[in-house]
Symmetry: C2
Subunit: 206 residues, 2 copies
Amino acid sequence: MAQGKLDPKSIPNDGLTTRQRRMIPITAVHTGPGKGKSTAAFGMAMRAWNQGMNIGVFQFVKSAKWKVGEEAVMRRLGGLHDDTGEGGPVEWHKMGEGWSWSRKQGTEEDHAAAAAEGWQEIKRRLENEVHDFYVLDEFTYPIKWGWIDVDDVVKTLRNRPGRQHVVMTGRDADPKLVEVADLVTEMSKIKHPMDVGRKGQKGIEW
Amino acid sequence: MAQGKLDPKSIPNDGLTTRQRRMIPITAVHTGPGKGKSTAAFGMAMRAWNQGMNIGVFQFVKSAKWKVGEEAVMRRLGGLHDDTGEGGPVEWHKMGEGWSWSRKQGTEEDHAAAAAEGWQEIKRRLENEVHDFYVLDEFTYPIKWGWIDVDDVVKTLRNRPGRQHVVMTGRDADPKLVEVADLVTEMSKIKHPMDVGRKGQKGIEW
């Protein structure tokens, strides 16, 4: 059953050895209207952390109140690394409170500029191989809204050096993102408690 | 944008206050052929851990080699709780190596018995409110194969006391499970690197 999931269906004629093919960095997109897009991305980051990878999380969200649970856990994991050498280091940046590398504080008016600035920083980091595993959370929205040029994203991802894994989340992923990715999962909502008037719960929804 | 996700679409006429409704435990199913079903469940468990919830993970998998990354991280989080009081306690049990509460070692022949035994233990724990948050990983398969009676599962989930959250994962969820759940997400595979002959990568796939 589960084991079968890791068997490749065919061996491609790409001139690479299995080991070389195994070394190809993952480009993943979690999209669709259902839950679990970001949660699964953070779960992947946890796993990568466990392998000692250097993790960089970039949240393209407006509110600093979002995903505080994931942030708290990832920061604790990063702290474990700093204290005991376990796992890998973790950096967590979010646009909502102004990018932490920037003096500017994000306001409602300059989200477009903040998103563009966030992408420029990620681009610099990819060029300099700063992290092993990137989570670009809610990244599809600034692309959809024209704040970040999807062609620039595609080109940067295609040409990134080394072995840097990138996972992007958000609804309505641009077809060009889907094209450049090699692992694309769509989360569909079948049933949701908010459909019947229930509110989000602490520790469950965030 | 993201904020809107937590606004209920309508207020149900169920006689409950918002606070009471908020206290209803979540029953979630992650199903479908795509990736991220378990990863999102473990991500939810991480978040619940961060709120100090007592976490119980039950993996209905054959091989002890699976999801070692998630297990390592969840065990570290449980260890953090034991050492520093942060987050909540974590128990992680898997069928692959014989359930840890059982003397019997699972062999290829008695998976059905092991699965049934696992479910009986979960049922006892639900009745005794042992955990706050349960992950029943790959739980749809023993149901599908007739090793665990879906009607018993549905009845147990419906009648469970207190405020115990349950997340179940696996393909081909029984319609009765979907019916009893209030949060059902289907993960669909759009593109997968194994389709083009790439193998699973350490830290990425497991």
